[in-house]
């Protein structure tokens, strides 16, 4: 139970020579916040003093932080209780999701600039404005979706790199350290902890970036570093995202949809699904799409626009009606946010319900995901690792002592519901994801 039962303890008798300190003065909110900031500033000053130029410990920490999506326990400074009460909504049902970070209202966050500096040890004044802007877009939900967020991150990095060349001192410092400590890490930390927890796609891309930085030759011109890094970023984006999407679309259309009469069921919004449908228009003999959407995000509306542009006959239903349409459906195509190494698929909340209903009707479920979204994590169920969204989207009634709103953003589809996973390396059964992981990262153990 979340609420603690209050037990009346019998009052102890006070010993005679006990010195009772005077009662603490009741501070106003502003005063308490000021005290908190002072304490945090002191703490971060201490931390920065300790970590001088130590790359390996921070690298490892970032690697582990990015290869697993999010571990709030590793950053105790960011428990909801430390950030000002005005910036966070009331934490949800303590029993279910107390291990997840409470949703933060983005508007309030960006007003309290001073607190940002204190809480994460980074001054937004020291972050590149493009980073802050991207972070704002993440937090408010203007950029949503695994591919979109990752792309935004990579493009932001590619854009800001040149701005650091003239500012730094090329001869004394190792520019690689500058890249790491001043550009990449603070931005990523800022986005993850203050704007929105990073997705698996972002995490994997960031890991790649750090590897790329570490593998740059020593003693190069800073401008040369920047060029090489930009090249790596663009190559990653091109190969792992754009090319992968095109390959997946091609595979699906040629192997699964060619010359067939299809009624495809899709859920929510996914870039790769859009690409598949673009190809399917010409490869299918007859094509019809049933689009399933769900509250609170109603991302299907975005997808609907794109389907209408393609001119495909389309029905739009809400999630609860999905069992009514299954008699016509031939295949279910789903996008994904992440694929776990045991074959389970992390996607937008509601994906699991669609997959489950389809499996119950013996309709094949195809999950389409680029390989860079594969995570080596194993997750047993949806709640252990998830993200909380704005509870006001669920209901505008406020939280009270015994009424809470829960807005989960992701859910986990078990491998048993998935017939096949389409990646740019081929169509594989869910259990082969682990193999793909090993193939892609031979140096990882």
């Amino acid at each position: 139970m979340s609420t603690e039962t209050k037990i009346e303890k019998p009052k102890k008798e006070k010993p005679a020579n006990l010195v009772i300190p005077p009662p603490k003065p009741k501070l106003s909110k502003a005063e308490r916040r000021a005290i908190q900031e002072q304490q945090r500033a002191a703490k971060s000053a201490l931390q920065q003093g300790n970590q001088g130029g130590g790359k390996p410990p921070t690298n490892e920490q970032n690697k582990s932080a990015s290869s697993t999506t999010k571990q709030p326990k590793q950053q105790p400074a960011n428990q909801p209780a430390d950030t000002p009460k005005t910036a966070t909504t009331r934490p949800c049902d303590g029993g279910l999701v107390s291990h997840l970070k409470a949703h933060q209202n983005p508007e309030l966050l960006f007003e309290t600039g001073a607190t940002l500096k204190a809480s994460i040890g980074v001054d937004t004044a020291q972050l590149h404005p493009a980073v802050v802007e991207t972070g704002y877009r993440f937090a408010t939900g203007q950029i949503r979706g695994g591919n979109a967020r990752c792309r935004a991150m990579l493009e932001t990095f590619a854009a800001i790199l040149p701005d650091y060349v003239s500012a730094s001192n090329p001869t004394d410092e190792d520019f690689r350290q500058t890249l790491d400590q001043v550009i990449l890490k603070p931005a990523f930390t800022y986005w993850t902890e203050h704007c929105r927890p990073h997705s698996v796609s972002m995490g994997n891309a960031f890991t790649f970036l750090k590897t790329a930085v570490a593998s740059l030759d020593r003693d190069l011109d800073p401008m040369a570093y920047v060029d090489k890094l930009q090249e790596s970023i663009h190559a990653y984006e091109r190969e792992r995202i754009e090319y992968a999407m095109a390959a997946i679309a091609d595979l699906t259309c040629q192997k699964l949809l060619r010359d067939r009469d299809e009624v495809l069921l899709v859920y929510g919004h996914s870039e790769v699904i859009t690409k598949i449908l673009e190809g399917a228009v010409s490869t299918c003999r007859q094509l019809r799409v049933i689009l399933v959407d769900s509250r609170p995000l109603l991302e299907g509306k975005k997808q609907l626009e794109k389907i209408r542009e393609l001119g495909i006959p389309c029905s739009y239903i809400l999630l609860n009606a999905v069992t009514y349409v299954f008699q016509d459906v031939t295949k279910v195509l789903l996008g994904t946010a992440a694929m776990m190494s045991d074959g389970s698929v992390m996607g937008r909340v509601g994906t699991a319900s669609v997959a489950m209903a389809a499996a119950a009707h013996n309709i094949p479920v195809l999950v389409c995901g680029e390989t860079y979204k594969i995570s080596n994590r194993v997750q047993l169920e949806s709640i252990t690792n998830n993200e909380l969204g704005d509870p006001n989207l669920v209901s505008t009634d406020g939280d009270t002592a015994n009424f809470k709103r829960l807005n989960l953003l992701y859910d986990l589809t078990p491998a048993s519901f998935v017939s096949g996973i389409v990646t740019e390396l081929g169509i594989v059964p869910p259990t082969s994801i682990a193999v793909l992981l090993r193939e892609m990262n031979p140096q990882e153990k």
């Binding site: 029993g95 509250r295 829960l406």
Partner: protein, 331 residues
């Protein structure tokens, strides 16, 4: 003469409308108004007892003030009305059940005085005769023994192509003085059962809900609401997770009502039901109707909840309302 070619009598169940038009205009108007309400979905109340009350009142009026002469006529009248009601109100199975129950009462009363002429093997009280809307005997023979024997045609609806002109045993055509009062009593019984409806269900709450559990439900239902409130009243300490039930969002008002009653409530979207199911101990679903094969009609989305519960191997409990004439399903 067994009352067939007579204009003042109902020939068969499809003839009811003509008969009403000729002899009871006002009742026909009443029937049409009721059908219109059904078709327009006016009776899709959350509290389905209102529907039953309306149906019973309507039938009371129909049975009470029309000039039927004998049990056969009354039976045909009811069957005809039931047929029309079912066509218009197919989304409300309980209406058909009410009518069937009255018809069973009619048959029971008609058979009652003749028990000395039938073998007393309880043919009139057997499950077969209670469930089926029509007498089971075959067309040709009028013999008494054919009441229980012969081809038993299963009647799932009031419509039957073959037996448009059913022929009842001879004693159905005798006038019966106590029939009307018996039928009225049967209707009162239906209404009275509704009174105790929730009490009977809520008595069992301690068997099913225990402290420290997390219960999941979907949308708004009076039965489930009272069930959970009864559990809270027994000082059981549990949490309730409510799926909102898009697009009607009836879960929102359910959450409010339960929270006001002091329960620990969490509101989630329907899409999140699979995600939270791993933490749920029990699922309670409201029943719109229980069908003969054990299937459950629930508000939209119940299927997904049930599938998720099965996958996570939570136990499912169906909140059952004793719709008139329908035995309560499994708990």
């Amino acid at each position: 003469m067994t009352g067939l070619a007579d204009e003042t009598e109902i020939r068969n169940y499809l003839d009811v409308r003509r008969w009403l038009e000729e002899h009871h205009r006002k009742h026909l108007a009443l029937l049409d108004r009721f059908l219109l309400e059904l078709r327009r979905g006016r009776l899709k109340q959350m509290d389905r007892r209102i529907v039953i009350h309306r149906t019973v009142d309507f039938l009371r009026h129909m049975v009470g003030s029309t000039k039927w002469k004998n049990p056969a006529q009354l039976h045909l009248l009811l069957r005809g009305i039931g047929h029309e009601l079912q066509k218009a109100g197919y989304h409300e199975p309980s209406i058909g059940n009410v009518v069937r129950r009255i018809m069973a009462a009619v048959r029971e009363e008609a058979n009652f005085d003749n028990e000395h002429t039938i073998d007393s093997t309880g043919g009139r009280l057997s499950l077969q005769s209670m469930l089926w809307a029509l007498p089971q005997h075959v067309k040709a023979s009028r013999s008494i023994s054919s009441v229980r024997s012969g081809d038993h045609q299963r009647q799932e609806s009031f419509a039957d192509a073959d037996l448009v002109s059913p022929e009842y045993p001879a004693f159905y055509y005798q006038e019966r003085s106590g029939l009307k009062s018996t039928v009225m009593e049967a209707m009162d019984e239906i209404v009275n059962e509704l009174e105790d409806l929730y009490k009977n269900i809520n008595e069992q709450v301690v068997n099913h809900i225990h402290s420290g559990e997390i219960i999941l439900t979907s949308g708004r239902s009076k039965t489930v609401e009272l069930f959970l409130k009864a559990a809270a009243a027994k000082k059981l300490d549990f949490q309730v997770i409510i799926c909102e039930g898009a697009p009607g969002n009836s879960g929102h008002s359910m959450a409010k009502v339960l929270a006001d009653a002091g329960l620990d409530v969490t509101l989630i979207n329907d899409s999140a039901v699979f995600a939270v199911m791993a933490r749920v101990n029990k699922v309670i679903l409201p029943a719109h109707a229980v069908l003969a094969n054990g299937s459950l009609m629930t508000p939209s989305g119940g299927n997904l909840v049930a599938l998720a519960a099965k996958h996570n191997s939570s136990q499912q409990r169906h909140g059952i309302r004793r719709s008139a004439g329908q035995t309560a399903g499994r708990y």
